[in-house]
């Protein structure tokens, strides 16, 4: 087996807050192979977005990378100089953000915002870069790109804007695309289009995807492997097919149970949707032991006192639960 494209090892991200620091994420490890789609799933505030920002080298105060290694294509990138990181960013790892509304500069035509990529990383002239921006817009299937390159973001719909973001991210043919909830702000019908477009373009260019979402169904559909994060830790990582069939962590089980299923009411009658009781603990007050223990249906004494280590699963996965292994 060849070396993976991205290795994240034991990442710890610190949050500084009025004199003390908290761990916003810890012990986060995963690998993404070349051209592979990898999903990172969890509730709001579980640490998935800051993990993405850490990979991009874009953590800003009060967040900082406390320890761990990020290896891209054999090169450790967590400590490289700012200038070197800039050369990687955009060119080899690109990112798509959640809000296409605010992620584009409102005062700059979208064509120019795409063209910047060619000027920055390939030394193209603006004239040349604008031609290629038009081509990039055509690739993400924006109709009449020759007119659209001169449009401002407010003249485009949410879906179109996210296509522009994809065009920007994929402009320089990166090895890895980090997509942070790319469809959360979009209509359901547009969501599917955007996901398909992303998957198709990445497959064509051999670009790996780190897909970050709170939507387990979406991620499992698109990705080969999935990691589930809870309260700053990865609690389970598995092949996507396996995770639906045999979820190993009670939290994953809870996520799957709380998915509504089409046609369920016709088959089984009106029923309350299952939920995970309780709320996500705040970073300042993570419970001791297993962080899921206050909400876990199968909690035992050991869960409250001792933090579980990871256990290997037979299906090439890991789980962080005392009741496995």
């Amino acid at each position: 087996m060849t070396a993976p494209l991205l290795q994240v090892e034991n990442l710890r991200i610190a949050l500084a807050s009025s004199g003390t620091t908290f761990d916003a994420a810890e012990g986060v490890s995963f690998e993404i192979g070349r051209g592979e789609a990898f999903g990172l799933v969890g509730e709001s505030g579980c640490g998935k977005s800051i993990t993405a920002l850490a990979i991009m080298g874009l953590l800003r105060r009060p967040l900082s990378l406390a320890s761990g290694r990020i290896v891209l294509d054999g090169q450790e990138i967590q400590n490289v100089s700012a200038a070197e990181m800039r050369r990687l960013r955009g060119k080899r790892i690109a990112m798509i953000f959640q809000e296409p509304m605010t992620a584009l500069n409102p005062l700059s035509p979208v064509g120019k915002q795409i063209a910047e990529m060619f000027v920055l990383h390939q030394g193209a002239s603006w004239r040349d870069a604008m031609d290629r921006a038009e081509e990039a817009l055509r690739q993400v299937r924006v109709p009449s790109p020759e007119r659209r390159i001169r449009d401002y973001p407010h003249q485009l719909s949410g879906g179109m804007r996210q296509r522009v973001m994809i065009a920007i991210a994929l402009a320089c043919g990166p090895d890895l695309l980090v997509a942070d909830e790319p469809t959360t702000a979009l209509d359901v019908t547009v969501q599917a289009e955007i996901i398909d477009l992303m998957a198709e373009l990445c497959a064509a260019k051999g670009t790996a995807i780190l897909m970050i979402s709170h939507d387990l169904g979406l991620v499992a559909n698109m990705c080969k492997r999935v990691a589930v994060m809870y309260a700053g830790r990865i609690v389970e990582s598995q092949l996507a097919d396996a995770i639906f069939a045999r979820p190993s962590h009670p939290y994953t089980q809870g996520l799957i149970d709380s998915l509504p299923r089409l046609g369920e009411r016709a088959r089984r009658g009106r029923q309350r949707l299952t939920e995970i009781s309780g709320v996500v603990p705040s970073i300042q007050a993570y419970p001791s032991g297993c962080r899921f223990n206050p909400r876990c249906p199968s909690v035992t004494d050991v869960c409250r006192s001792l933090a579980p280590d990871t256990t290997a699963l037979p299906t090439d996965g890991l789980v962080r639960c005392h009741h496995h292994g």
């Binding site: 960013r89 992620a103 500069n105 409102p106």
Partner: protein, 311 residues
């Protein structure tokens, strides 16, 4: 662009009418008149019959609405009346004052923008640094200074003590005479602009699209040049416009202090003398200047921000 201009110009007429009506009303409740001022100490030797005739000539006894209507009709034809004091047409009286006033206001604004915006920028790019602290302390002081006191201190330091610049007067209208009054007038807007620019730039630096720009692999310098500047400019232009427009009115104190022959000092003299046509003329100038600058600002918005379209 043209529609914006047309709409703006159409707004000017009612605004001017409203402001002038207010001036008439205020003047009518102000005690005394030009004639009674001539006789203030009760020892005047002027024949009461002559005073009576003058009152009639100047129309001081006519009912207020009638005087107002007459005045506005004359203004529409470009006639601002005749000064009670100098017996000259007000247009001529103001005409020689407008250029010095404009020179002072533009110089003050140039000072305010160049120093204020630069300071605000430097402060925002290094928040918490020495530059930031110094600039913001300076800005707070600048905002709290009285123009009058600050002007006196400038005179004391640069004219009296160091002898570098003339202490007051228009001189030959050159730069040397302009510097001190312009700085005294510009320090307030400068301070406000420094604070606004800092806040605007910090705000934009936290915007999502700046994070996008960083994720593209842009250097911080490029991020600022390509994405931050123009966005921060929107807010800065607003403050520049507001300050600029009201500056001619604010210049009253500074002009008086530095004996600057502008519209402001004419206004002060005319108010003391109850020289109503001259007062009205000065206020009209100040209002027109304000409206003119406001129009320019609106046009600037359209040029900067593609989202703004006036209908």
């Amino acid at each position: 662009m043209l529609i914006v201009l047309a709409r703006r110009l159409a707004n000017i007429v009612p605004t001017v009418v409203a402001v002038m009506a207010l001036v008439f009303l205020l003047f009518s409740v102000l005690p005394g008149s030009f004639i009674s001022g001539m006789n203030e100490d009760g020892r005047s030797t002027i024949d009461p019959a002559v005073m009576e005739r003058m009152r009639k000539e100047m129309g001081l006894d006519d009912p207020l609405p009638e005087r107002f209507a007459k005045y506005m009709i004359n203004v529409a034809t470009g006639d601002l009346g005749t000064s009670f004091r100098t017996r000259e047409p007000v247009t001529k009286l103001i005409g020689v004052r407008v250029w010095p006033s404009l020179k002072l206001v533009f110089a003050a604004m140039l000072f305010a923008i160049s120093v204020g915006v630069t300071l605000g920028f430097l402060a925002a790019l290094r928040p918490g640094s020495l530059i930031d602290t110094a600039a913001m302390v300076g800005a707070i002081s600048g905002l709290s200074l009285s123009q009058f006191w600050f002007g006196l201190m400038l005179m004391y330091l640069f004219a009296l003590t160091l002898g570098w610049l003339p202490s007051f007067g228009y001189g030959d209208g050159g730069l040397r005479n302009l510097i001190l009054p312009a700085v005294a007038l510009g320090v307030g807007p400068m301070a406000l602009l420094a604070r606004t620019t800092r806040a605007a730039v910090l705000d934009v630096l936290n915007a999502d699209f700046v994070r996008t720009a960083r994720s593209k692999g842009m250097s911080e310098r490029r991020v600022v040049e390509w994405h931050v500047l123009r966005n921060a400019l929107v807010l800065v232009v607003t403050i520049v416009g507001l300050q600029f427009g009201s500056l001619m009115g604010q210049a009253v104190v500074v002009e008086k202090l530095f004996a600057w022959p502008g519209v402001g000092s004419l206004l002060v003299d005319s108010v003391f003398q109850r020289d109503m046509p001259a007062v009205q003329g000065c206020i009209l100038m100040i209002v027109l200047f304000f409206l003119f600058i406001n129009t320019l600002v609106d046009l600037a918005y359209v040029a900067i921000d593609p989202r703004i379209r006036y209908r």
